[in-house]
């Protein structure tokens, strides 16, 4: 569906190095802007790009603003987080020593089993004591996580009622995700609470800034899965916004390329190269969640493999071996950097005409000497090895995806193998490297227009995404919606079709609440299983498991264009 309109979308990606912004009108990039990110004041960068783009425009014509920001990622990586008191209902299983995420972890009695049945109750007195400890220690933030809480959130909710009196804010594990994984649920809940304060401030400032600019349209924030949600809602789930930067670029590529084939998408930056895979034109998601700063989480995110090779990777030659990256010590030598880089190699080889060729050559002299060859040959070797490193990482990634374990005979016999038909490349060195990379992964290549602001385009065009996990247990007569904490009574005749229908309805409501538009709700069933539960030798009920999601993708009115 193509909806013509003269409304505009403003997409902004506040990245680590640059802040990029685009103004999109009728499938076209109308304006683009790029400024250096002021790390100490992200708002300042935001102010500058919007200034650049909107000075000639009427803010009344804006339809929406979408923002991708590193604020959450930076807070975690730079450890600018708040102290969080954690209350864990761990039950039997892994020892507390393997679950302790910080020094303020308290383990309390209680247990919910895999079917969501409460086996042991919580100890209310100990919770009050813990609450007083938090107060005494000046801990304002609390995370409460129970084992199997997505199957039955009752104990988490009860604990919250008690602890509310002692702290400023509480995050509950079951609200983070419907997936099963207790250690990841702990990490996710912890991070959500740890960055809440810093993130909420950012939200307030952005809202003020937009107000000052006379922008009153909905503001969306990009998530790690390449989808968006309304900025007001984002304050409750700030952890969803981590690692949205790489996701922005990948969504940008998706927005600028034709076709619905299996594909490899590459964003070659200065320090790293991000690799994402599209299956039938849809970017693949991490099976469980993204990993940040050593924390494995349940945050739904695009499956992006980041390798330490980029245009500005430092090149060294040690014991006759060439080492490319993983560190970046500055820009390429051709731009005054201290060390030779793959970009210098491309300049020497004449693949690109940027920078000062003389400087690149000078920087390559010592390397060539160590390699016992001419500067030109050294550049050739380095270029080739850089391409090979990236290409082999792509092929490894595809193999890993194709070797992913499956759990049914049908899938193991009929399992579809991913076979990329095209390679998309964006980023600084895209043009000089694409051809050779395509040869190495045996695919035609495509470099989209506006590749340098792919991230901002991705933010602008992303749609609101959400998922929902439904578990129906007809023996217990209960349907559970993990993420919402709902437990609804059901009849013994309840079927899988009922579960799918309810899942879709509830997902629709949830997505609309998050800011989705009706026409963007491309809902699909991602898991759909039904098991007979048998007691003795007769069927006692059905165990039905359904997962539904709004596919990661682009907003409908722009899907066909750009």
């Amino acid at each position: 569906m193509i909806v013509w309109s003269d409304m505009m979308i403003l997409g902004i990606d506040v990245g680590g190095t640059h802040t990029d912004a685009v103004l999109i009108e009728n499938f076209m990039v109308k304006e683009k802007a790029k400024v250096i990110t002021n790390e100490r004041d992200l708002l300042d960068s935001l102010w500058k790009v919007t200034d650049d783009l909107l000075k000639k425009e009427d803010p009344e014509r804006l339809e929406r603003v979408v923002l991708s920001t590193t604020i959450s990622t930076n807070a975690i990586v730079q450890e600018k987080t708040d102290r969080v008191g954690m209350i864990l209902v761990n039950g039997p299983g892994l020892p507390p020593s393997l679950l302790r995420i910080n020094e303020d972890c308290h383990f309390i009695s209680g247990y919910v089993n895999h079917r969501g049945i409460e086996i042991a109750g919580i100890d209310r007195n100990s919770v009050s004591r813990i609450g007083k400890c938090f107060k005494r220690d000046g801990i304002d933030h609390c995370g409460i996580v129970g084992k199997f809480s997505p199957r039955n959130p009752h104990q988490e909710i009860e604990l919250q009622k008690i602890i509310n009196a002692h702290v400023r804010h509480v995050s509950l594990g079951h609200r983070m995700s419907g997936h099963l994984n207790f250690p990841r649920r702990i990490a996710t809940t912890f991070l959500n609470e740890a960055i809440r304060e810093i993130y909420s401030n950012f939200v307030k400032q952005v809202s003020n800034l937009m107000h000052l600019r006379n922008i009153s349209v909905p503001i969306y924030i990009l998530k790690a899965d390449g989808g968006t949600f309304d900025i007001t809602l984002s304050g409750e789930f700030p952890v969803q916004t981590i690692l949205s930067g790489p996701a922005a670029s990948i969504m940008g590529i998706l927005g600028m390329v034709p076709g619905r084939d299996d594909a490899i998408a590459l964003d070659i930056g200065g320090t790293t190269t991000d690799i994402a895979i599209f299956a039938h034109g849809v970017p693949l998601l991490e099976a469980l969640g993204v990993t940040i700063f050593g924390h494995k989480t349940l945050i739904r995110g695009l499956r992006i493999k980041s390798i330490g090779v980029g245009g500005d990777s430092r090149i060294r030659c040690e014991d006759g071996k060439i080492i490319i990256g993983p560190e970046r010590e500055g820009p390429a030598a051709a731009f005054g950097g201290p060390f030779p880089t793959p970009t210098d190699a491309m300049i020497i080889l004449g693949l690109t005409s940027i920078g000062e060729r003389v400087r690149a050559k000078e920087a390559f002299l010592p390397v060539a000497r160590k390699m016992h060859c001419s500067v030109l040959e050294a550049a050739k070797t380095i270029f080739e090895q850089t391409c090979e490193k990236i290409a082999s990482a792509c092929l490894d990634e595809i193999e890993a995806i194709n070797n992913k374990p499956v759990y049914t005979i049908h899938e193991i016999l009929e399992g579809r193998k991913l076979k990329p038909k095209i390679l998309y490349v964006v980023g600084g060195p895209a043009r000089p490297m694409a051809f050779r990379l395509g040869e190495l992964v045996d695919c035609p290549v495509y470099i989209p227009e506006h590749a340098e602001v792919a991230n901002a385009i991705g933010a602008a065009l992303a749609r609101t995404t959400a998922e929902m996990t439904i578990l129906a247990d007809t023996e217990q007569g209960i349907l559970v919606i993990g993420e919402e904490g709902d437990r609804i009574p059901i009849a013994p005749r309840f079927t899988r079709e009922d579960a799918i229908r309810i899942g879709k309805e509830r997902l629709r409501e949830r997505a609309i609440k998050m800011g989705a538009r009706e026409e963007d709700l491309e809902i699909e069933v991602t898991e759909d299983q039904e098991f007979n539960m048998v007691k003795g030798f007769s069927t006692a009920g059905k165990n039905i498991r359904v997962k539904v999601q709004v596919k990661p993708g682009l907003i409908a009115s722009l899907r066909m264009g750009v």
């Binding site: 299983g93 247990y111 089993n113 016999l413 165990n543």
Partner: protein, 436 residues
Amino acid sequence: MLKKERKTGLIFFPAFDWAISPTHPEREERLLYTQDQVFEEGLLDFDNIIEFKPEIATDDDVRCVHICVPHVKSVITDSHLVSAGGAITAAEKVMKGEVDNAFALVRPPGHHAMLVVHGARGFCNVNIEAIMIEYIRKHYGPRRVAIVDTDCHHGDGTQDIYWNDPHTLCISVHQDGRTLYPGTGFHREFGGPNALGTTINIPLPPRTSDEGFLYILDHVILPILDEFKPDLIINSAGQDNHYSDPITDMYFTAQGYALLNDRLSPHIAVLEGGYSIEKALPYVNVGIILAMAGLDYSHVREPDYDPLTLRQSDEISRYIEKEAAEIYTLWKRRDSMREELIGNAEYIRRKKPIYYDTDSIREQQEEIVRVCNDCGGLVTIDSVADTGNRIFAVIIPGQSCPVCRASGEEMYAGTGKDRYNYVYFQDRDRDIFLVK
């Protein structure tokens, strides 16, 4: 508890789309709650626990072990090839050194499947451990292998396959055959004439608890393993000794399974039976995986675990102590027992009725072994089943001597099809399988 971490391979294949029948214990749901528990505990996120996708075994892999009547495809489904393939993947990862040990958490199981297969018995069609072991021998050379079968039912299929193989030690610990299917697995079942003592049966009285199992482990199994000196230890990790299992009567716990696995330290564990799918399997499997990976399993227990009700009686303890001593004495006397058994005989004959409970088939079998001091001995089997099939099989053992080989080849050549529907020739050394 500080332990050395080990790299553990996990092949998880719950076959969510396969069942013997909709309400049969061996059905789709069997590993569902185990999956929930393994996922919720986050076990696959440990750097030293690596999940692998199972390979699919081939008909050839099956023929290295079984005589399938009339042929492989007629007695198995794809699910059996995936489950056997899962065991093979576990072995591959260990043999190549990619992991220190591996657990094939796969279904359907296999330890009741015997050498000749007319159909399914005890929920088993083909023996997935034996297929894995012969795969290892075919691709990595002869190996001394010890199988410790801790399923609650006697591992009669595995015993049958390795009855005459002195290079494979089969130890089965199980609930006393007088009280449980398949009704076998007594002390006197001790191996064929050329492999006496490499079949060991340890029947335990009903209501044996952790204490009894660990006593047997420490006083019989580990000492015998020490003397047998296997290259590989395989655990047939059935989980139906659990106190909550619906079709057995033992008091073993998740903590007990973890302790047993830790002390046994198998290279490869393969799931067998275990049908308490909600109350036992989730916890037992988490315990086994943590123990194999050298991680702290001391907090693994069932939510309803009560040590008081699960104590074994003093009478049982005394019985088990006596039994342990008897079995160990038998093992020590195996060489002199062999002389008594053989006397001057050149061939030893064994007749046995076999019932396929899952498929309701009856079979009569006569097995003849050539007495041989140099190898496991030539084996011939004459088998007739009430399916109407009568077959004759000539089996040349692994690491066979020239005499056994030559007489086996002659025997196959000289056997006509007049009395038999099929005549088979299996040569494990040369990987030859013939049918006429």
